[in-house]
Amino acid sequence: MSKDVAIIGVGQSAFVRSYQGSIRELAFEAFREAMQDAGISTGDIDASIICSAPEYDNQRSPSGIIAEYLGLNPQPTFAVESVCSSSTTGIRVGYSMIKSGLHDLVLILGFQKMSEISSADSQERMGRGADIMWEAPFGTMMPAYYAMHAQAHFASYGSTEKDLALIRVKASKYGILNEKAVYRKEVKLEDALNAGMVASPLKRFDCCANADGASCIIMASQARAKEMAKKPVWVLGLGSATASMTLTGRDALNGLTCARVAAEKAYAMAGVTPRDIDVAEVHDCFTIAELMAYENLGFAGPGQGAELIRAGETYIGGKIPVNVDGGLLSKGHPIGATGGSQVRTIVQQLRGEAGAIQVPNAAIGLVHNIGGVGVYGNVIILGR
């Protein structure tokens, strides 16, 4: 467990339905918070990495315009993308650039203004999210793919719609406490179970909402972190993996291979096991995604994830508190910003600065961030 690269600053804008400003102004909100958190100025930043799903922007190559607005010229900047996991990919790249010695301080800015394009345009892009040659021509969308995973999980393991609803109930409980979340109302079990069907067996409350938002993470080399940060949070493990984009290339749909492989790599690098994790943020774009994450991350054995939520073990006070900031289900899912928001929550937990949602004595935390429907998987293990 080496402590070579640390996170020294975190920031996030409010996640909102429709941000009333430009993407550069949205990015600035997360940037300012992270810079003030780290206590540094723009001249300290050696490079920036901008993370987003570019099909939502009218601006081509937004990394250039955002780096300019943040005052980060002439330092290098570029964009990275792995759809919904773009900002944890950015963090993986930032880690590499620091560990390799190219840079000492790297800023990772994730953003998405999903409302930048019209709703019709958005519906059009959704249709192009899967393999456009072999799957999109049948009329596919993200909820449908996750629904097929849910159906397969139910068939393999006997999990139920109620298990999924229980996950949403937990998300809403914590979402109420998160002032940066887009959805802050209680969802009762019966509300979740009685909601309209989107793609069977997923109903309205099984799905997270689109949102506009930005997140910002500042990473530093060991030397700079020790010099600058009161409470550095160290990158202990990083794992990344993929699965074929087309479902035809996958072994089974009752879990996500990319998450399982990424987790194995992250645990091995950190030298820890699932039992060592005190608090986790998992990618719950749909309730079924959280259920599969329990198993793919080793918090439960294959098919035993439902028992965790039934027993309340993923609440604060349980064996492994998961998504105690409300998750994507409550916060909303501004694609490029999501992973950075998850990392921010874990950093605050490990610093003991999480307020009402603090998991007592959290020392090791985990982030699980998935791009596409199990196409890209990033797992990050952080420690204080």
Partner: protein, 137 residues
């Protein structure tokens, strides 16, 4: 136009080296490809083999019966598919080759279940597009 734009309820791309897939559908056959050098088989069909880096392929038939691996009945659709809802998307296994597509609307909701036996059938759509769907075997 290369021919591939004819495939599917809605097409997103027209150019591929495997557009003969559409001609096969027109002859009522669902086809994948097989690498002559190393024997790897591919569905969806591919022009190139990532196993041996070869690009000499022959067409092979995907034949039933197969089994339903998973499915979902969707009530919302992306642009261009709105008039089709609800429809059921499915993944099926044909002797180890997986195929993605729609389940025939002739299969009732109640009888749709994982592992049910299926075969693929070509569908000529009213607007001239061509596709395939899964029907009861």
């Amino acid at each position: 136009m290369m021919g591939f734009e004819k495939f599917g309820h809605k097409s997103f791309t027209s150019q591929t080296k495997v557009n003969a897939f559409v001609a096969a559908l027109e002859s009522n056959e669902l086809k994948g490809t097989k690498c002559i050098s190393c024997g790897n088989t591919y569905f969806p069909p591919r022009a190139d083999c990532c196993g041996c880096l070869g690009s000499d392929m022959v067409w092979i038939n995907i034949e039933g019966p197969g089994n339903l691996l998973s499915y979902t009945r969707v009530n919302y659709a992306p642009t261009g598919f709105e008039k089709d809802v609800p429809y059921t998307l499915a993944l099926a296994d044909f002797n180890g080759t997986k195929v993605f597509g729609r389940l025939s609307s002739a299969i009732a909701k109640e009888e749709t279940m994982v592992v049910m036996s299926l075969k693929a059938a070509v569908v000529n759509l009213p607007d001239g597009q061509i596709t395939y769907e899964f029907i009861k075997a």
